[in-house]
């Protein structure tokens, strides 16, 4: 029994969450530091995982397996492939910055009672989410994954509903109302998805008799387990629906703008950059891994939905008045790319999609957190309330621009690599889809640059004239993210090295080969 690295990686933030929650009301700052330290420790552990993972090795590594609920055929089974490693890295990387960015977001108001300890709760919940997300990336047991998939809704729900953005238009009452509406919408939407998935999970059990990803895949491979086509399709749909809600895929996306709009910027990042990735990750691992035939069957429809997401999301982003909602719709567009890449069933597409998950996480974090800093200064989320910020706060404007450029996937910044891979991968199999998707890059430029122009350029407004520039803490949050963006933009190899083998396995799961070029120009 080797050292249970994966469990520990997930356990550290979980324990940290409990400790943080236990910090007495008076020692608020201590709680913050504790949370920060825990998240950094987790980052270190994630780095160890990254280091211990051998790209050349087995598909799932660092595996752990313990009996859990025999009657349900459930085991506590962990293991990571390259994709898991990459996403664990992303999660562990982002959380410290989220914590740091949300440093003051949950300080209690004077009006609140002394026994109410929002700060402790805020950071405890964030860590709890981190723990669950990391564990869900590690789970190779469908049931275990499902449980985490559902359970992580609860802390997210409290984060959204309990700690809303203080910058809102209108009275506190209707702000609170909007907030809890957003939180409830988030929860019910995802819960509904999860329950549909529950039916499918049960169905899977009835068919397969256990929940071990590896065993089921094996059994399917050597024909011990053959699902009826219709069964497989129904189960696939059950799973996919849940993931599509989480991802979110058009037309199941409407919870995201509300949630991201009402939540504080760090929480919004947590939603779109970290938690939603579980959905796309699960499509790659479970939909394709468990139901290859059905996946192929559903591909055309899904590609179409993904395309709609791409264009639709971008167009709506253009039409937004609220900075955070704009970013939310941009994310919807990007998730369209990710899903398209996954279901393009080419190694470029899937590698691209995986990189995209990571890169989108980082770029959105950069953009959204800076936006959060901006909003916290002016106390408004409306684009129209800004203008000429770059004059007063050039660094803020500059970082905002870089975040934006990453979002429109400018070469040299990480998202470009992934987006181009997805496009190529899709184009290779579905040329029309590929071409339509490229319009996304124009629209992306449109909403990003319009946002930048309206907020940062032009003559300075009264309120923005003496806006303070980024503070040290905020700079510490943004600078590393930008550095990573550039690094992964010009040298993504460390990431591709771990991802490629995993993608190779997935491709063999679905028994797909890359379409070979028309001319073998290998001279």
């Amino acid at each position: 029994m080797s050292f249970p690295l994966l469990t520990v990686t997930a356990a550290v933030p979980a324990v940290g969450a409990v400790l943080t929650a236990a910090v007495p009301a008076a020692r608020r700052t201590a709680a913050k530091w504790l949370a920060l330290l825990v998240s950094l420790a987790t980052l270190v552990l994630a780095a160890v995982v990254f280091a211990r993972f051998e790209p050349g090795g087995d598909r799932y590594q660092l595996t752990e397996s313990h009996a859990w609920i025999k009657d349900f055929g459930v085991r506590y089974e962990l293991g990571v492939d390259g994709i898991g490693v990459a996403l664990i890295g992303l999660t562990a990387l982002l959380i410290p910055f989220i914590v740091l960015a949300g440093w003051h977001d949950a300080d209690p108001l004077e009006t609140q009672s002394k026994r109410w300890r929002p700060t402790q709760g805020f950071f405890a919940l964030i860590l709890m989410v981190e723990a669950m997300v990391i564990l869900s990336f590690e789970a190779t047991d469908v049931f275990l994954f499902y449980i985490l998939f559902e359970a992580m809704l609860i802390p997210m729900y409290f984060l959204i509903g309990g700690f809303g953005d203080r910058a809102h238009s209108g009275t506190d009452e209707n702000a609170a109302a909007q907030r809890s509406y957003a939180a409830v919408k988030f929860l019910l939407y995802n819960l509904a998805g999860g329950l549909i998935m529950l039916a499918a999970v049960i169905g899977l059990y009835v068919v397969a008799g256990n929940f071990s990803l590896t065993e089921i895949a094996e059994a399917r491979a050597n024909g011990q387990l053959d699902m009826a086509t219709s069964t497989e399709r129904w189960l696939f749909l059950g799973f996919f629906f849940a993931f599509a809600v989480k991802a979110p895929l058009w037309p199941l996306h409407t919870w995201l703008p509300n949630a991201m709009g009402e939540a504080t910027a760090p929480v919004a990042v947590l939603i779109t950059a970290v938690v939603d990735k579980v959905g796309t990750f699960a499509m790659l691992r479970f939909c394709l891994g468990l139901f290859p035939e059905a996946s192929k069957w559903a591909t055309p429809a899904i590609i179409v939905l993904a395309l709609i997401s791409i264009v639709y999301g971008a167009l709506l982003a253009v039409g937004q008045r609220d900075i955070k909602r704009l970013v939310a719709y941009a994310s919807i567009s990007h998730f369209g790319f990710i899903i398209m890449g996954i279901f393009a069933m080419t190694s470029q597409g899937q590698s691209g999609a995986t990189l995209y998950m990571v890169n989108h996480g980082i770029s959105t974090a950069a953009l959204m957190l800076v936006a959060g800093f901006l909003i916290s200064r002016r106390g408004s989320r409306l684009i129209a309330d800004y203008g000429g910020v770059q004059k007063a706060a050039p660094v803020l404007a500059g970082t905002f621009l870089i975040g934006g450029l990453a979002t429109l996937s400018l070469p040299g910044l990480a998202p470009f690599v992934s987006e181009f891979l997805v496009l190529v991968g899709t184009f290779a199999r579905y040329p029309v889809a590929g071409i339509v998707a490229t319009t996304g890059i124009v629209l992306a430029a449109l909403y990003v640059l319009v946002l930048y122009q309206r907020t940062m350029t032009g003559p300075a407004k009264e309120e923005t004239r003496n806006m303070p520039d980024l503070r040290a803490r905020e700079l510490v949050v943004v600078a590393p993210l930008i550095a990573v963006l550039i690094l992964l933009g010009v040298y993504p190899q460390p990431l591709t090295d771990v991802v490629n083998p995993a993608v190779r396995h997935t491709m063999s799961d679905v028994q797909q080969k890359d379409p070979s070029p028309e001319v073998e120009a290998a001279k």
């Binding site: 409407t254 190694s347 000429g388 184009f427 040329p431 490229t438 350029t457 040298y491 070029p517």
Partner: protein
């Protein structure tokens, strides 16, 4: 030797990084550092050039592979450079002109507190442009391609506090993005067709005729789309005019000498693909011909000196594209004209900048006049540039343009005639509007106006020392500005002849290939025709502006004039179709998203709630009605059970 190539890019990149992250403490020396690093990379370029000359024509190509950029199953993108004669030409042009313009900017931007950042952007541009021309595969080229786009965005919008500047920058980037779509699709096509997008294999395969012509045509057209975006060719030309919102050195370097010619580079670089796709080539020539006339006409109507020059840039690049479209008979000339144009157009812009510098940043030529006495150096350099561009015999423009016109005729067939005619007409119009600019600016009587009042101060380039309300005091610009102008003037004069006799065509041949076109007209005939139409244009312009006084306020003018002032209604078209249409689309989509997509969800929730409310009424509190439901339930239960047995 080949290891130096990376340094070419690295030097200005380093500069950009340092200047942009360095912070205020660099404000003092920032511009020097920037200029120095640009110069460094120019020197490296010269060294490589010397080395290249030392080799035989066929093995002059250098390669340097740094590392694999994107390694994915079956998809290999390297960070690797290829330096051949074509790239070399560009390297020298970019670094050379670039360095000069850095020097010029030192003086021009003196009074701008954000000068450090300006030089950072300039360095960034140089680095990206070098990456563009040095890349050895299309994806890396795309990297540089977008890089220069970014730099141009940042520089056009350098005075971000001017809404017009910010808008222009955004517009430039967006229009270019449309072109970039073309480039990325082209790359995808290459990948699916050849399984790679490195120059070597792709072009060999294209030349080898392995791929179907249809595929190649598609690739070529997509590349053309990209070129149109970057080089402001119809239909994606609309951004160039607005781009003049940027500081004048930027207009000179990016929007005249280098970046806008990237499209031509792309076409020439992909020569083998285009050669294999004649239909695409025809389209290219058409685009070129249309643009060269379009730009020229626009240039005639503009009173803003920079916009007039912008129109002319458009038109000159039209020439290059036209030439590039002609295939092996034209590639070399396209590049040749590109270089000479680099010299004289840059010179003209710097001259314009110098004039504005002296005239409180007034750009309206109708408010100039008689400046030759006040700024002699500017006058002379500008004049030489003028002569060069109109193709005055002996000056650089003469050689390059003449060759293109000749090649156009040599295309043969009716196309040949039509294209040739367009080219000639273009030459005439060029002569006309350039003479117009020349006369309105330097001759005639003063039409100066008081400097714009402070409230418009936002739109004043901080480079100027304006005294509101007073008449301007035109004065010669400082050395740092005149020196580059002089050097460029030298280039404008000599470059053409030098290339003609130093064998530029042979120099490029290994890369672009070359064959002599067989023109239906003799070379002499074409040349004379060119000169004649040129003189014609000059004459007309002289009659119109030299003899009569120039009205300080533009006359209403003919329909064509008014259309031309508005860029031949291009923007109006864009506005109606894309801007307004797009706005409506997004608005309606926002509505749809809220009421339809989201409405369905909320609707379901609401209907369940309603159902609940109705069912709730059954619970009316009367024990007996409960008993009724029990009784009925039992009855149903019994009935169902019996029924089950029955069926």
């Amino acid at each position: 030797m080949d290891n130096l190539i990376a340094l070419l890019v690295a030097a200005p990149l380093l500069g950009a990084a340092v200047l942009l992250t360095g912070g205020r403490r660099l404000d003092k020396a920032g511009h020097w550092l920037g200029t120095l690093l640009a110069a460094v990379s120019f020197v490296i370029g010269l060294v490589l050039f010397a080395d290249m000359l030392g080799k035989s024509a066929d093995d002059r190509t250098l390669h340097q592979t740094l590392y694999t950029w994107i390694p994915v199953e079956g998809f290999q993108a390297d960070i690797a450079f290829q330096l051949d004669q074509l790239s070399m030409t560009f390297v020298l042009l970019i670094t050379g002109v670039g360095t000069l313009i850095h020097v010029y900017s030192i003086g021009y931007m003196e009074h701008d507190e954000r000068r450090r950042r300006f030089f950072g952007y300039l360095n960034l541009f140089v680095a990206a442009m070098l990456l563009l021309v040095l890349a050895d595969n299309y994806l890396l080229l795309y990297f540089g391609w977008e890089g220069v786009g970014l730099a141009s965005y940042l520089l056009i919008g350098f005075w971000q506090h001017k809404p017009s500047a910010a808008t222009a920058a955004k517009k430039a980037f967006l229009v270019n993005r449309v072109g970039d779509m073309g480039l990325s699709i082209a790359i995808m096509l290459m990948f699916t067709t050849f399984g790679t997008f490195a120059f070597g294999p792709v072009l060999d395969a294209a030349a080898g005729g392995d791929a179907s012509e249809g595929k190649l045509t598609a690739v070529a057209l997509m590349l053309l789309l990209a070129a149109c975006g970057k080089s402001a060719q119809v239909p994606l030309q609309s951004w160039l005019g607005d781009a003049m919102e940027g500081p004048t050195p930027v207009s000179a370097l990016i929007h005249a000498a280098t970046m806008v010619t990237a499209g031509v580079y792309l076409i020439v670089r992909s020569a083998d693909i285009f050669n294999a796709a004649p239909d695409a080539q025809l389209v290219v020539t058409v685009v070129g011909a249309v643009t060269l006339l379009f730009g020229a006409i626009v240039g005639c109507a503009k009173d803003d000196i920079k916009k007039a020059l912008a129109g002319s840039t458009m038109s000159q690049i039209g020439y290059m594209v036209l030439a590039a479209g002609l295939g092996p008979i034209g590639y070399a000339f396209a590049i040749m004209h590109l270089v000479t144009h680099g010299f004289f157009k840059a010179g003209l812009f710097l001259g314009a900048g110098s004039v504005m510098h002296g005239m409180n940043d007034e750009v309206d030529m109708r408010k100039y006049g008689g400046l030759r006495k006040y700024m002699p150096v500017t006058f002379v350099t500008f004049g030489l540039g003028y002569l060069a561009i109109i193709g005055f015999p002996g000056l650089s423009g003469f050689f390059s343009k003449d060759k293109i016109i000749e090649a156009a005729f040599a295309k043969g067939g009716t196309e040949g005639w039509i294209l040739g005619a367009c080219a000639l007409l273009g030459a005439a119009i060029t002569a006309y509007y350039m003479t117009r600019v020349m006369i309105m600016t330097f001759f005639g009587e003063k039409r100066w106006q008081p400097a714009p009042d402070p409230d418009k101060a936002a739109s004043v380039e901080p480079g100027a020392d304006a005294h509101p309300g007073e008449l301007p005091h035109p004065h010669e610009s400082p050395k740092s500005m005149t020196l580059p102008m002089i050097l460029l003037a030298v280039g404008s004069v000599g470059a053409g002849a030098f290339f003609e006799y130093a064998g530029f065509v042979e120099w490029l041949e290994p890369v672009t290939g070359f064959e002599h076109g067989h023109s239906p007209l003799s070379a002499a005939a074409v040349t004379t025709a060119t000169v004649v139409v040129m003189l014609l244009g000059v004459g007309v312009a002289y009659l119109q502006y030299g003899r009569r006084p120039v009205p300080a306020v533009a006359p209403r003018g003919s329909l064509l004039t008014r259309a031309a002032r508005r860029d031949l209604l291009q923007d109006d078209f864009n506005h109606v179709v894309f801007v307004r249409g797009g706005t409506h689309l997004t608005r309606s989509l926002v509505y749809v998203d809220h009421s339809l997509v989201d409405g369905v969800v909320n609707g379901t929730a609401a209907s369940v709630g309603g159902l609940s409310g109705r069912l709730r009424k059954l619970q009316n509190g009367y024990a007996r009605s409960y008993a009724v439901s029990m009784f009925g339930g039992t009855a149903v239960l019994i009935a169902a059970t019996l029924l089950m047995r029955a069926v």
